[in-house]
Symmetry: C2
DNA sequence: TCCTTCAGCGCAACCCGGTTGCATAGAGAT
DNA sequence: ATCTCTATGCAACCGGGTTGCGCTGAAGGA
């Protein structure tokens, strides 16, 4: 789609904009929800699994995307929203539908953060609710 | 240890108390925190992996234990507290130490439950905070 | 007590997502 | 044009989880 925006975004984060990286980022930005490595593999047929894997690794390190573990056994990826780095406060709620097996980002609901006992230091939060999505409820 | 308590607990939930099931339940009840399948395998050297796996499957179905996905790639198990079935309100907070790779149960802190958008129906919550535990902080 | 039956178990193989080593291709610098 | 170093593809590997299958041992009935 608009690969220019992707290139811009990549360079802003100090990541060299190679063709594959543009493809991966573009796929993630155009995704309706989260995407797993397998999802990306399916969309980007020509690109090797390990290349996507390493690309995601780099993206994550440079705070272009973050990963969510929804407990399905395959990690989901999602582009970071803000221009700046994702902080713990930016983590939002995710919802996993046990019927259609989709993972939803509830961006408007930030993940709650409880008070931890003395001595624990929080770095990130993984908050995922499982159940039935609106499509599967009825 | 006190296998009598295990037998009682098993039968109360309608699970036949075989020797292996008693061993597994006993190991879980005496564990300081959560245990993975690999942990159980290590403790119960004589018992086959698949037997433990199927035992846990049965335990979970009968609400003797519940599983937690802490994002490490290996699912953790923990005995259900109350006499009754685990409900969504019983889910508590877990903490994963990124340094020593232990998963802590913060039983006193129940997992927060946010209001979901119209149409979503929650069945369970997975709330895990990652960071450094007291031992690893200093 | 003996026989039948079936759940429980061990073994081995398999599956799948993720990960890594290595050789090549390609972009950027000189 | 050549050199260098990063990015990529390929193939193999890894580990947790899962399954098929045959044996075993306990429960139940004659």
């Amino acid at each position: 789609m608009d690969s220019l925006r992707c290139i811009e975004r990549l360079e802003k984060k100090g990541v060299r904009a190679t063709s594959i990286r543009i493809l991966v980022l573009d796929a993630l930005m155009n995704a309706s929800g989260t995407m797993s490595l397998a999802d990306l593999e399916a969309v980007l047929e020509t690109v090797d699994k390990s290349s996507i894997f390493r690309t995601l690794e780099i993206f994550e390190k440079h705070h272009l995307v973050h990963s969510i573990d929804d407990g399905t056994g395959s990690i989901k990826f999602e582009v970071c929203e803000g221009e700046d780095d994702c902080t713990i406060a930016d983590m939002h709620t995710h919802f996993y539908c046990e019927k259609c097996h989709r993972t939803f980002c509830l961006k408007e609901i930030s993940a709650p953060l409880v008070d931890l006992p003395e001595g624990f230091q929080a770095n990130s939060v993984n908050y995922i609710i499982k159940g039935l999505c609106p499509d599967c409820c009825r």
